[in-house]
Every structure is written in structure tokens, then in C-alpha cells.
Amino acid sequence: MDVLRQLLIIAIFPGGIFMLLIGLVYAWINGKLIARLQNRVGPRWFQPFADMLKLITKEEIVPEGTNKLLFELLPIVALAGPMTAALYVPMAGLRPSSSFQGDLIVTIYLLSLMTLCTGFAGANTRDRFSTIGATRALTQLFSYEAPFLLALLGPAIVAGTWQISEIITTNQGLWLVVTQPISFVIAIIGLMGKLEMHPFDAPEAKTEIVAGALTEYSGRGLALFKVGHYVELVIGLTLVAALFLGGLANPLMFLLKTLGLLLGISFLEALMTRLRIDQTVGLWWRYGSVLALLQLVILVIWSTLVS
């Protein structure tokens, strides 16, 4: 019975099919919102599904001079990372299906796997656009990762634990966005950086380097990378909503809060001009990290004073 339950968790909910479907739906909502903000009609509801179906049925071309094993393995790992992370976050407002002390750090690591895989995939192919894209992706990874981690530590410090389920139970009903606004903003913007969303899409800037690290990917590999991005979007939103917006008590709250965040992200995406990679790095190290540290110091002093 236990094996069956484990299988269900991995294959249907919260991992597996559920994540794929909700990822595609959120991708559609994101695309539609941006389109409406830009005064376009936008895609129909099944467009992401159709895109993925098309990509999966297409021939996958492995370019010469690449390591074939890595070329095919990296997209799978890139999708597996966020899929695994789904087990540790309160997906759909339910309790995380798996939990242990320190799973917050593991989740953040699993979310970084996507960027790492993108970087390696770019470095693996000999294409010049891919190489530049990979360099940029990894540069960007090093700039937002530390502030993002520091931002998510805030709620953990308040709860006094590194376990996501414990943090949520302890902070149930606490809207930490009010007390830790800086962390919240950095977490949201860090999530956009992680997902290479619009102002931070220098690694895949199409007017400069075509499609960045994924230029040589077609067919299944590209589909896996894309789905991985969508899944990571949902998990990132869930994590931020759970930690900062007073927890996710039930599926309705989950939908309201994550979609609210998605709306905010879409606004930012539609408003911004793409930042150059040096501007992105400058933004994160000059302001992001400093502010995140500041917030953390305030938190630590405050919690010491209170106790």
C-alpha cells in the first residue's frame, strides 16, 4: 500500500502529471497576461499543450561535436530537479508530501538545477550563441542565487526551523510580506532571474544570441527544458506564497495567492526593458545582496531582542 502511495505521489500528485498540467496552465496564464498587457490577443488556452506536443513529436537533432549522452541527459535532469522539488513544497495548499529537516535548502538547490543544466547544455554544444548564452546563464546564477537564498531565510529565521512544512505550520496566518518587504521583493525578483523571465532574459536574448544556451536544442530536449521552466515557475510561486503570504491553507488560497503573484510578475515582465548581463549582475550585487543582508541582520537582531 505504501509503495502504491509513493508511486501516486511521484507520478500523479504532487509530482508527475499534476505538475506538468499546472505548469502548462500557468505558462498559458503568464503568456496571456503579458499579451493583454501589451495589447495583444495572446495564446489560446491549449497553446502551451500544443507547443509541447509539437516539440515532442519533432525530430531531435544532436549537433556534431557534442557529447550525445550529456546532450540527452541534461534536459531530463533539468525537468527532474523542479519535479523533485514539488514533493517538498505545499503544492495546492496541501501538506508537503515529503519533509525533513533542512528541505528548504534542498528545494532551493533543486530549483537551481535547471539553470545549471541550461549552462552545461550550452557549454556542451560548440555553437557560439550557446556558449555565450551558457556563460551568461551561469554568471546570472551566481548573481541572484545568494540574495534569493538570503531572502528565503527570513521566514525560516522567524519560524526557527529549516523545514518547509514546519515553517508553514509555525507561521500559519502570518503575512511576513508586511514585516519583511525587502525579502519578499528580492524573492520575487530572484524567482524571475531564476526563470530567466523578461528583464533578466539576457542569457536567451533573442536579438543578440538567438536562443542562448538552448539554441541547438530541438524536439524533445527543448520540450523538456521548457516544461521544466513552467514547473519551476509554479513551484517558485508556491514557495514564495507559502513563506511570505501567510501560508497556503487550502487549494483556493493556493490559487488566489499564486495567481496574484503571477499577475505581479507579468506586470514586471511587460514593463521592463531587458537588462544587459553586466547590469543584471550589478543590480544583484550592488543592491540585491546588500538589501537582503540588511533585512537578515535586522531580523537576527530583532529575534535576539525579543527572545
Binding site: Q38, F129, A205, K206, T207, E208, L271, T273, I277
Partner: protein, 398 residues
């Protein structure tokens, strides 16, 4: 090139083109980068050469006008009217005042749609998709107006040899006035966006700075020159059509960076809306065409027109028949292209597409064959020789 393949391996060449998402037309740029910084730049043009100058030698003037209109898909009116004005000069006649005013009106309408198109493309290069979508939406207003007055959105074919083919009805005049009112309001908004959006200014202020001296040395024309403080505008310097009756205020800026190129073009939008309004309200009455003899006596002439991208020059020679002896055009992209290669050096790779878009390049317009050293004894090539040259070049390519 030895440096590129040196052992440190840090420098390599990024090709932009012939097919690349940053280019809307084929052209080939090679940027040698060290990390993200551009060290060298080179360009290869000619991917969209169509032999138009040769084609028009086998057509009569009216046919040639329709062919030349197809030189550019954005500023089609300037090319067609250049031929019409050239033919009129060669024949020694002048188009009636109403025709000249209508030509001027269409020049300015075309400038509005070209600058709005450019604004969208340049914003797209910077990754500012919202501005791209909004400016192209507003551009539809002007496309609808052009369709209403001429029947076509792109190749309006307004000209005839000796005048214009269309008239502006009272109803159209009202619609034009309504459209420019709307566009003026939008242009003011865009001026505000390109000069105050801080994220956007990070990508445009101080990027690709060109001093007036450099601009003069490279011979830049049009809004690119005016953004560097060079007072150069054919509409002011040598008024043609009805620009002597409806004078233009020259828009210049002194900064010479990308921001200045944005603000100059958007302020030209405002100036064009003013001019359109003035022309529509004071349209002279009278005939639309003058009679021009089919056969034009031998003569030579040069026509200069301020196209949306800068000075457009046509050299025309007639030979007493109804077909031109020789027509040669120089489009504004050619003189401006040199500035791109110089300005990108030292900038980030991410700035290169924006600097390129800053001159509003039109590759198909500027691609024409130039024989620097004659390979045969004659400087004049026949169709067969040209064709054979093309075939040999194709087979001999590496």
C-alpha cells in the same frame, strides 16, 4: 584574424546574420568579442540585391516608377516620387501645386508610419516588447489612412509622372486630421517614455555616442546626423515638392547617443503631425497632373529627397526615348552603415543590435552592385554579361 585564434581562446567571432532574429532583412555582421565587449566589427551586405537599377532601364518611366516604388517596403513613396520628380525635371515641366502638396502630405504620413515602425523595432531590440506592441498598434492608424486615400497600405502608388494619381476628399481630410490628433497625443506619450523610463534609459543613454565631427567624417545622414547635432535635412536645405510653402522645423539634438536618436525621431513624429495638419487644412486647389510627353529629351538630373531614414539621392539620365538611360539611387542606409561599425567597438555585445537598429537600416534598399574595378573593357554590362557574372559567381563561391 590571427588574434582571434590565439591560444588564450577568450576572443571569438559572433556572427549576426545573414539570418538572425535581430535582423529583419539579410545582412551579415561579424563582431569579434572579448568576453562581452566588442573589439572588431565588420559587415557584408548584398544578400538582397535585386538588380532594380538594371531592370528599370528596360521599362518606360511609368513602369519604372512602379518598380522603384518596390525598392523599399516602408518608404515606398519617396522612391516613386523621386522618379516622378526626376522625370518632370528632365521633361522640363512642374507638377501642379495641389499635386506637390499631396506628395508632401504623403511624405509626412509615410515618415510617421516609418518612425513608428522604427520605434517598435528599436524597442524590440532592447527587449522592450510593450513599447514595440503599442507603437505598432498606433501605426495601424496611419496605415488605415494611407489605405483610405490610396487604396493600399504599403505601396500606395500616389504618384504619376507629372502629378499625383489620387485626390484628398473632404471626408478623407477629416479622417486624416482625426488620426494625426490621436498620433500626436501618442507621440507625446512615447517621447515621455523614451526620455524618462529609467530602465530603458540604461540601455540608450550614453550608448553609441557619435560626435558631430565623427558624423561628418562618416557622412551620416537623416535623423542619425541630426541626433548628433549636424544640421542636415533636405526638406530645409533644398526644399522640394511643397516644402517651400509648408516649411519644416529641423529637429536636432546634441547628445549623439541612442537616446538622442530616439528623441529626435519621436520629436519628428510631432513635427510631421503638425505638418500634415497644416497641409490638409491649406491644400491648394487646382489640377492634379500636368501633361508630360511620353518621350523625354536627353538630359541628366539629380533628385534629393529626405526619406524617413535620411537623404535619398537619385541620379537620372534620359536618352530621348520613353525609357530612362540610367537611374542610380543612393539610399540613406549606405552612409549610415559605416557609423555602426565604428560605434559598436568598445560596447557590449548586447548594445550592438540597438546601435544597428539606431540607424534604422534598410538592407534591401541599399543592396546594389558596385563594380570597383572593371573586369571587362566596357563599363556597361549587358543583361547576358550580368547574368553570366551572376552564374560564375554562384559556382565560384566558397
Amino acid at each position: 584574424m590571427a588574434e582571434i585564434s590565439s591560444d588564450n581562446g577568450r576572443k571569438f567571432t559572433i556572427p549576426i546574420g545573414p539570418q538572425h532574429p535581430a535582423l529583419k532583412e539579410p545582412g551579415h555582421f561579424e563582431f569579434v568579442v572579448d568576453g562581452e565587449v566588442i573589439q572588431e566589427a565588420s559587415v557584408k551586405l548584398g544578400y538582397a540585391h535585386r538588380g532594380i537599377e538594371k531592370i528599370v532601364e528596360d521599362r518606360n518611366y511609368t513602369q519604372a516608377m512602379y518598380i522603384l516604388e518596390r525598392v523599399c517596403g516602408i518608404c515606398s513613396h519617396v522612391h516613386a516620387s523621386a522618379l516622378a520628380m526626376g522625370a518632370e525635371q528632365l521633361a522640363g515641366v512642374e507638377a501642379p501645386p495641389r499635386a506637390r502638396a499631396i506628395r508632401t502630405l504623403v511624405y509626412e504620413l509615410e515618415r510617421i508610419h516609418s518612425h513608428l515602425l522604427w520605434l517598435g523595432v528599436a524597442a524590440h531590440e532592447a527587449g522592450f516588447e510593450a513599447l514595440f506592441m503599442y507603437s505598432w498598434r498606433d501605426r495601424e492608424t496611419i496605415m488605415d489612412i494611407l489605405e483610405e486615400i490610396s487604396g493600399s497600405r504599403v505601396h500606395y502608388s500616389v504618384n504619376a509622372i507629372g502629378g499625383v494619381r489620387i485626390d484628398i476628399s473632404a471626408e478623407s481630410a477629416q479622417n486624416i486630421l482625426k488620426a494625426v490628433d490621436f498620433l500626436e497625443e501618442r507621440s507625446k506619450h512615447y517621447l515621455n517614455v523614451v526620455s524618462s523610463d529609467r530602465v530603458f534609459l540604461q540601455r540608450s543613454r550614453g550608448i553609441g555616442v557619435m560626435s558631430p565631427e565623427e558624423g561628418n567624417r562618416w557622412g551620416v545622414v537623416g535623423p542619425v546626423a541630426r541626433a548628433s547635432g549636424i544640421k542636415r535635412d533636405v526638406r530645409v536645405d533644398a526644399p522640394y515638392a511643397a516644402y517651400d510653402i509648408f516649411p519644416v522645423t529641423m529637429i536636432t539634438a546634441s547628445e549623439g547617443d541612442l537616446e538622442a536618436r530616439f528623441t529626435v525621431r519621436v520629436r519628428e513624429l510631432l513635427e510631421s503631425t503638425r505638418l500634415v495638419r497644416e497641409v490638409v487644412k491649406n491644400l491648394p486647389e487646382g489640377e492634379l497632373t500636368t501633361k508630360v510627353k511620353r518621350k523625354i529629351p536627353p538630359a541628366e538630373t539629380v533628385v534629393r529627397i529626405e526619406a524617413p531614414r535620411g537623404e535619398l539621392m537619385y541620379y537620372m539620365k534620359s536618352n530621348g526615348t520613353d525609357q530612362p538611360e540610367r537611374i542610380h539611387g543612393r539610399t540613406p542606409t549606405i552612409p549610415n552603415m559605416a557609423s555602426v561599425l565604428h560605434l559598436t567597438i568598445g560596447h557590449q555585445l548586447a548594445d550592438a543590435p540597438m546601435i544597428l537598429a539606431g540607424i534604422d537600416p534598410c538592407f534591401s534598399c541599399n543592396d546594389r552592385a558596385v563594380v570597383l574595378k572593371s573586369q571587362s573593357h566596357s563599363d556597361l554590362w549587358s543583361w547576358d554579361q550580368l547574368r553570366q557574372y551572376g552564374i560564375d559567381r554562384y559556382h565560384g563561391r566558397t
